[in-house]
Symmetry: C2
């Protein structure tokens, strides 16, 4: 599909793209630019065919596809090199989790002749680094492609994601950021906040309560173990939507508190029952496995 592909930033997502690309034979040559020494060692082990770049220079001039998979806060540091060495022949994409900000960066920082169409694969986990990457990470997962005027390149980008197993849907940046503030960003913030609250509680109470986490807290701790740089970037870049969903969440929680204080039986039962339907829908939509307790067995 490509002669020369470049992955910039090769952690969990970048190395999974790398593995998937090698597995599907999608590029004759694969270049990787990664700053971490530890990550570089791990990347070398994936395949001897990978060309590790020491810097972004004239060697990248003839790549036909670039995937930016660094944290979003690094994009602005990378763009000057793209502006300097790339031409309109190269298709650029990124995998950032918010899109209005990236759209703005593109408009203000990227050379007008360059072609950048945004992607967002809905895949990942709480661990970071290339040792956890998988060629199957994108299999049957959504990849959001952001609508672009350049339909020919958009088609090419779509073909790439489809070849590594993704299901495609297109969105506008504002629509994307709104939807994922609710389905992804708020859940992560809530998990972080619950762990913060448990730590505060423990400090005040003076006893180890974390040892009793199997009652429910443990699930939140997994989500709250996600990469802090990535999530800081997301929260800061999706401010407007975050504030709205946080406010909606707090309003609902206060209502729940009233239901509890006043023992409002039918009101609370209705809510607790309704969420069971959502779980069923999520399983039917193949957004999760159906096994009780995620099929987890820690005996």
């Amino acid at each position: 599909m490509f002669d020369k592909l470049l992955i910039i930033g090769c952690g969990l997502i970048g190395s999974s793209l790398l593995r998937a690309t090698i597995n599907k034979k999608l590029s004759k040559k694969i270049l990787v630019y990664e700053k971490s020494k530890k990550y570089k060692k791990q990347i070398k082990k994936i395949s001897s065919k990978i060309i590790l770049l020491e810097k972004l220079d004239e060697n990248i001039a003839d790549v036909d596809f670039v995937i930016l998979s660094t944290p979003m806060s690094v994009y602005e540091k990378i763009i000057p090199s793209l502006n300097k060495y790339l031409s309109s022949k190269t298709l650029i994409t990124d995998i950032g989790s918010t899109k209005e900000n990236v759209s703005k960066i593109k408009k203000t920082k990227l050379k007008k002749t360059l072609k950048w169409i945004m992607s967002h694969p809905i895949a990942g986990s709480e661990v970071s680094g290339p040792q956890y990457g998988s060629k199957n990470l994108f299999l049957n997962k959504w990849c959001i492609i952001l609508n672009d005027k350049d339909k020919s390149n958009q088609k090419k980008l779509t073909r790439f994601w489809v070849k590594i197993g993704s299901k495609i849907i297109t969105m506008e940046p504002n629509q994307h950021d709104k939807i994922f503030s609710m389905t992804s960003h708020l859940p992560h913030l809530i998990a972080y906040n619950l762990i913060k609250t448990a730590l505060d509680f423990q400090k005040k109470y003076g006893k180890n309560i974390i040892q009793f986490s199997a009652g429910g807290l443990r699930d939140f701790s997994r989500t709250a173990a996600s990469n802090e740089i990535m999530w800081r970037d997301i929260f800061f870049n999706n401010k407007k939507n975050m504030v709205q969903v946080i406010d909606l969440f707090i309003r609902n929680l206060k209502e729940f508190k009233t239901n509890i204080i006043k023992s409002q039986n039918s009101k609370i039962l209705k809510k607790l029952k309704n969420s069971k339907k959502v779980r069923r829908q999520i399983i039917e939509l193949k957004q999760d496995i159906s096994k009780p307790d995620f099929g987890r067995d820690n005996n």
Copy 2:
């Protein structure tokens, strides 16, 4: 260990106790009292040795161990039968998730001569009913035994839980309810509230957002699919502690909101990093498996 054991209420927990008891040969005879016709059919399939009672009557007079594993709101309906037919020879326990309320019910409703020592196994999942029960449900899981003056019966109760694989810790009812309001009850309420918020958001936004749940929402939907009767009972019975942890959670969430609005980098990074330590601790304490994403693979 026992001649005649009686399980009252035989859903996920009751049937797991039933299976564990059979597996470890802890009772010569096992009686089960369960009202649901559907559940009764499923229970019969577990073992032909089980004696299914149609009602609680003189047949229970000579049981030496009773486990109450109905929802807590049913306890008061069961107690008159225990008062009528049982004597001090029978050891009674329950598996309710809150203890101050059960302690009060015992004091006010139970005949003074009867022996009831409270238990709380920290085990379960989002599914209900005997078809999901497992003889290993309690293996390596905490079981809280509530301190009692009757040390001989407390020892006997401890022996029972140890034999089916539990790790034992003793607590006072108020201490128990405080700790589990944070490690179990608040996480469940928060999961229910997040799903409620997602439903409200979806209704207002007019598009199916649940299909993008793999970004994080799906984990909460599992917890929020838990049994509504059980969780209503817990929330209502642990009111005082629930209000406190909800307030603490809201205070922290408002602070997070401020961190986001004001782009307070170091403050937010510190919080996001700290929760990673909690995850590590939870895994070290064997409260969860270490596999990324719970070892889940929905491809």
